[in-house]
């Protein structure tokens, strides 16, 4: 008897399963397949200050503030904010937000995150180093106290991703990875954020699968119909493009410039382009008394502004734009790009014109009618066509008598030359995550700047740079910023080349806004 009932029950459940299977339409998941050149080293949002890591973190996590596709600051986990006095900011937090594991988000998580970001092993310290105290007022109110007025606090907070306190304590990841302890921390391959996507699968260097977080607070404001994102990094450029051409991926970043036309002309593919927040330029050692690699002894030709101007005039930037960059660049007259605060369009428009004659005259006036020799240090795996830009420059400078020994090498060897101030003449590119000139001043213009390989700087400029760190009033601040730029653009310790243009290749079925910071946000993606 029981057996019969059991059979009956089984049969009916099988039957109903079949019926349901037939009745409900098969829902095809929208899967976005994405490829880029490299994987993120870690999923820990505070362990590494690198573009790929931040791109990944922004899918899983939210900051207090985020940017919309127009790059404007909009509320994220903080619903609103105001400054109570010049050093205190009050943030009202969003209610009803949960982490992927179901934990409730509240002020404790914010306090915890700021402290974690300030930890000795954190690489994101730079974004929070002005914050001296975090106070929990109630569960959904937090006060951030800065050491002195910080005009770019909100911009910095965009890259500070909120982690779950309970989860971090449970898995013993209350501080970011410490390399000295020879073990992997839980947060390198596991994620618990509040963001638009949760982590479904993580195989470093091979595959990462993002799953749509249906409970995300931001779905109303950020429209996306993507259920799943499969990210497979492909190192080799030709293979990466082949994967797009053969329809194995829908979106490709890190596009090789030579394949642009080919993808454009493909019937099922599209190319998106936008100027990147990164400017490429040459740095000249304007400080040393003698150049290390030059045949001019006893003095440093680069100390003379006429020589720097001569080099500027001698570079045919239009030719580089057309031949080397295949129009994937915008000639630059200053070191920042239009979306950065402090940009002045007229400087870009009035960059010194290409003129071999003028360059030669300037060199003669400076006392080098026959030119001189110098070594040019150049990276060969960092920027778009970096080595080719340098090669083109070698020929252009030869026309005015400057003989270049080109030293092109990987960034791992190139960058220490700059940070160690051991290069006479080098290529560098600079991006600005905070979208404010103060960032580049701190690193490249201040005489103590860690990436100021030119040695440029004066006590007056240094004082101005230190001053704007604490000026909140925008008009007063911007006035000082433009003063500093006027000095830099006249002194030319850096010869500007161009702003990089980024291009993404995608299937025509995909719409996703292309961003100047080169980070696709999957929560803005629409798949047909």
């Amino acid at each position: 008897m029981f057996n019969k009932i059991k059979h009956l029950a089984l049969a009916s459940s099988v039957l109903s399963a079949v019926v349901i299977g037939i009745a409900s339409p098969v829902y095809a998941e929208k899967i976005l397949r994405y490829t880029s050149v490299a994987d993120a080293s870690t999923l820990d949002p505070h362990a590494l200050n690198a573009q790929t890591s931040i791109m990944v973190a922004s899918q899983f996590f939210d900051g207090l503030v985020m940017r919309n596709p127009k790059m404007e600051k909009v509320p994220a986990l903080a619903e609103s904010w105001k400054s109570l006095d010049e050093n205190t900011w009050e943030f009202k937090l969003r209610k009803g937000v949960t982490f992927h594991n179901g934990n409730i988000f509240n002020a404790d998580d914010v306090v915890f995150t700021i402290e974690r970001t300030k930890a000795a092993t954190s690489q994101m310290k730079g974004y929070v180093n002005t914050i001296v105290d975090v106070k929990k007022i109630d569960d959904y109110t937090v006060h951030l106290i800065t050491e002195k007025p910080n005009p770019v606090l909100l911009d910095q907070l965009i890259n500070v991703f909120i982690m779950d306190k309970e989860w971090s304590e449970k898995h013993n990841v209350t501080v970011p990875q410490n390399f000295k302890e020879e073990e992997e921390t839980y947060a390198v391959r596991h994620v618990n954020g509040t963001g638009a996507f949760s982590l479904e699968l993580r195989e470093p260097d091979v595959k990462t699968v993002f799953r749509r977080n249906e409970k995300w607070w931001g779905h109303a404001a950020n429209k996306s119909n993507v259920d799943q994102v499969v990210w497979t990094p492909i190192k080799n450029a030709a293979t990466r493009v082949a994967a797009l051409l053969s329809g194995e991926v829908d979106l490709l970043t890190d596009m090789p410039v030579q394949d642009l036309e080919r993808i454009k002309s493909h019937e099922k593919l599209q190319v998106m382009q936008t100027p990147q927040i990164r400017t490429i330029f040459y740095g000249l050692d304007v400080k040393s008394d003698e150049l290390r690699s030059s045949n001019v002894k006893g003095k440093n030709p680069f100390k003379d502004v006429r020589v720097r101007k001569a080099i500027y005039h001698a570079i045919n930037i239009k030719a580089i734009q057309k031949v080397v960059m295949r129009n994937m660049s915008v000639p630059a007259g200053m070191l920042i790009q239009p979306s950065v605060n402090g940009y002045n369009a007229s400087v870009d428009e009035n960059r010194l014109p290409y003129s071999v004659e003028k360059a030669k005259t300037l060199l003669s006036e400076a006392g080098y009618p026959k030119g001189f020799s110098v070594q040019l240090d150049c990276p060969n795996n960092r920027y778009q066509n970096d080595e080719a830009i340098c090669q083109a420059t070698v020929g252009m400078l030869a026309k005015i008598g400057i003989k270049i020994q080109l030293n092109a090498q990987p960034k791992t060897q190139h960058f220490p030359l700059i940070t160690g101030r051991k290069s006479d003449f080098y290529l560098l590119g600079w991006g600005i995550p905070t979208l404010d000139s103060g960032f580049i001043f701190d690193y490249l213009v201040h005489s103590d700047g860690s990436w100021n390989g030119s040695g440029y700087g004066s006590s007056e400029t240094d004082a101005k740079i230190e001053e704007i760190r604490g000026v909140v009033d925008p008009s007063k601040r911007n006035a000082i910023i433009s003063e500093i730029w006027a000095n830099v653009n006249a002194d030319l310790p850096y010869v500007p080349l161009h702003h990089q243009v980024i291009a993404w290749g995608a299937s025509k079925n995909l719409t996703i806004p292309i961003e100047p910071n080169n980070m696709p946000r999957f929560y803005w993606a629409q798949l047909k």
Partner: protein, 326 residues
């Protein structure tokens, strides 16, 4: 025999030590790992602090001593790039490389022996000439060109096979295999052919020339005179005599297949040890590089050791030499 083995073992250890020393010395020139680990916008103080924490400021001999001590215990530290223990990474990546190398070795041996036989037995037929000309491409075209060519034909144009990756893998007791799924096999075909091509050509040409040589010898003529069947002569006598050098070469080539797989893995984004290494080089990921180099050296030394010992077994002349006194 025992003294011979001990001597060989001792030499192998010396070679390993030398490789470790050399590779470690070279790491001084790969650049500064710190600048990769911290991104462009980190201050000098932070970089110095990290450098200190990693022990990069210690003198060479201290670093090398620490490395040797850890390596003997199978510890290679934590990867700067992936922030995970290197031994774990290598164990994770090894199946991909070994499966690729295994299939390539099979393809190279089977097709190489067959091609060698055909071209050796009928050296003047148009088919043999076709194979020989084709095989010339195999040796003269660089691996990455062949790989990209195959991708453009079979992935982009024909859309038959995937252009990258390993397809779906199945975890069998920690060994992630691509042999268990259709997509895994499909993904394996192009890289395996790419990797096999050079070795195949080599085997083909050795067999061919050996066959031509052996077929001219007296004992084959005598076998013909005895009226043996053509099949028995070709396969029972001629081919058997050509196989000794082939076995030696094939054995050694397995080592170079592992080494060569770096390029193939890069072209096909094959998640093996080779691509782990090459990304490590670009990142100045010293722990990964040193572990990989030591491992590959270990493979070579082991294979060499086995081949040496096999010679000893196979070749009676070596044994009589060791007795001394002649």
């Amino acid at each position: 025999m025992i003294s011979f083995t001990i001597k060989r073992l001792f030499q192998s250890v010396l070679v390993m030590l030398f490789v470790a020393l050399l590779s470690f010395f070279l790491f001084n020139f790969v650049g500064d790992p710190i600048s990769n680990m911290v991104g462009q916008e980190t201050s000098h103080a932070e970089m110095d602090e990290l450098r200190d924490r990693l022990g990069l400021n210690d003198p060479f001999i201290v670093k090398f001593g620490r490395f040797l001590g850890d390596a003997v215990q199978g510890k290679f530290g934590i990867s700067y790039r992936l922030q995970r223990p290197v031994d774990e990474l290598i164990v994770e990546r090894m199946p991909a490389t070994l499966e690729l190398v295994f299939l390539s070795a099979v393809i190279a041996t089977v097709l190489g022996v067959l091609g060698g036989l055909v071209t050796g037995l009928k050296p003047h037929s148009w088919f043999s000439k076709f194979i020989l000309t084709g095989s010339l491409l195999g040796v003269s075209l660089p691996t990455f060109v062949i790989g990209i060519l195959l991708i453009y034909i079979f992935a982009v144009t024909l859309n038959w096979l995937p252009s990258f990756g390993r397809g779906e893998v199945v975890d069998i007791g920690g060994w992630r295999t691509g042999f268990a799924t259709v997509s895994g096999w499909k993904a394996l075909i192009l890289p395996a052919i790419t990797l096999a091509l050079y070795q195949m050509t080599l085997i083909l040409r050795i067999i061919r020339s050996e066959m031509l040589e052996v077929l001219r010898t007296d004992f084959i003529k005598f076998a013909r005179a005895r009226g043996l069947k053509r099949w028995d002569i070709n396969f029972g006598h001629a081919l058997r005599n050509t196989l000794i050098p082939v076995i030696t070469v094939t054995g050694l080539q397995v080592g170079s297949l592992i080494a060569f797989s770096i390029i193939t893995e890069t072209v096909f984004q094959w998640p093996g040890m080779g691509s782990l290494f090459i990304q490590g080089v670009q990142f100045a990921d010293v722990p990964v590089m040193s572990a990989y180099l030591v491992l590959v050296a270990l493979f070579f030394v082991t294979i060499n050791l086995i081949v040496d010992l096999l010679y000893f077994v196979v070749d009676p002349r070596l044994r009589s030499d060791l007795k001394g006194g002649h």
